[in-house]
Symmetry: C2
Subunit: 170 residues, 2 copies
C-alpha cells in the first residue's frame, strides 16, 4: 500500500476567466506495504501504574479513556492496554515471558544515555544493563518498564538524529 | 531529553565588515524524555527467513550485514536480529511465548486492510484474525509474522493518515 505521488494534474480555466490555473497533486496507493509502523501497543497488567510510569518520564498522553492510553510518538502512536485483552485482540496465546521485542530510544551523547537510565529507574524501571560502551561502537544501557518491556537507551554515533530526534540510517 | 529550540542567537559583525549578520538557531536538550521511539528490534530465529518475509511485503533494507537487517520506517528503524542475542543484549530472560507487544499498520480503507492481510499470508504470515469491523468503529485484522510477532492491519476512520502515511491522534 505504498503512497505514491502522481504527476501534478493542472486544471486551467479557459478564456477570459480571472481565476489562476489550479494544480493538484494526486496521491494514490500502490500495491506495496509501506515501510512504516502506525502503532505499538504494550500489554500492561495495571493501566494506572503503566501510565504513571510513562508520565513520570515526561510523556503526555493524548486521547485517553479508562481502558487505553495513547501517546503520540513522532509519526506513530504508543498505546498502553490491558495485556489479556491485547492478547485476545491479537489472536495470540499469552504464555508469559519476553516475546522477542525490544524498543530503543536514541540520544545525542553517552551522558544522556546515563541520564535517561537514571530518570527511568527513578520512575520505577529496572535497570537490566547499565550504560557502557557497546560492541557496535556506541554506548547504551537498558531499562525494563514495570510490565517487563525492555527499552535500550543508546547513543549511536553512526545514526544521526535530526532536530526532531528522528533517526536516519546512513 | 526533549529537544527544545532556543531563541536565535545573532552574531553581527561590527564596523565596516561586508559580511551580513549571521543568525544561528541553537538546539538544546531539556530534561524530559522525548515522546518517540528510535528502533524496534524483532528477535528472530532465522534471519534469512525473516528478511525474506518483510522483503516479500515490499520492504527494502538499508544498511545490513550477515547478523542484522535494518529497515528505515519513517523516522524510526525496524531491525531483525537473532532472538537469543537480543534477549541477552536486552537483559531479559527468554521464556518464550508472546511478550505483550503488538505492532500495527494503518491504512486508508477496509479494502486495503483485506489486501494487506492477503499479501502477508502470501508472504508466509499466519492470519490470526481476519479483517472485520471492530468494537472501536474501525476495521482490522491481524497477521502473525514467521517469528510470532503480531501485526494488526487497521483502518481507523478517526485517525487520519497524512500524505506520508503517518498517523495523528485527534
Amino acid at each position: 500500500m505504498g503512497w505514491m505521488m502522481t504527476r501534478r494534474r493542472c486544471q486551467s480555466r479557459r478564456g477570459a476567466s480571472p481565476f489562476p490555473t489550479t494544480c493538484v497533486t494526486r496521491v494514490v496507493q500502490n500495491d506495496d506495504m509501506d515501510q512504516r509502523i502506525s502503532l505499538i501497543t504494550l500489554g500492561v497488567r495495571d493501566l494506572v501504574r503503566a501510565r504513571a510510569f510513562y508520565e513520570a518520564l515526561g510523556w503526555r498522553s493524548g486521547t485517553t479513556n479508562d481502558d487505553v492510553v495513547f501517546f503520540q510518538a513522532g509519526g506513530m502512536v504508543l498505546a498502553l492496554w490491558d495485556r489479556t485483552l491485547l492478547a485476545e485482540d491479537s489472536g495470540v496465546s499469552d504464555a508469559g515471558g519476553w516475546g522477542g521485542v525490544t524498543l530503543a530510544y536514541n540520544v545525542a551523547s553517552p551522558r544522556l544515555v546515563d541520564d535517561t537510565l537514571t530518570d527511568a529507574a527513578r520512575a520505577g524501571a529496572t535497570i537490566a544493563r547499565a550504560g557502557a560502551p557497546t560492541f557496535w561502537g556506541g554506548y547504551s544501557g537498558v531499562f525494563v518498564d514495570p510490565d517487563g518491556h525492555p527499552w535500550e537507551v543508546a547513543h549511536n554515533p553512526d545514526w544521526p538524529l535530526d532536530q526532531e530526534g528522528r533517526v536516519h540510517l546512513p
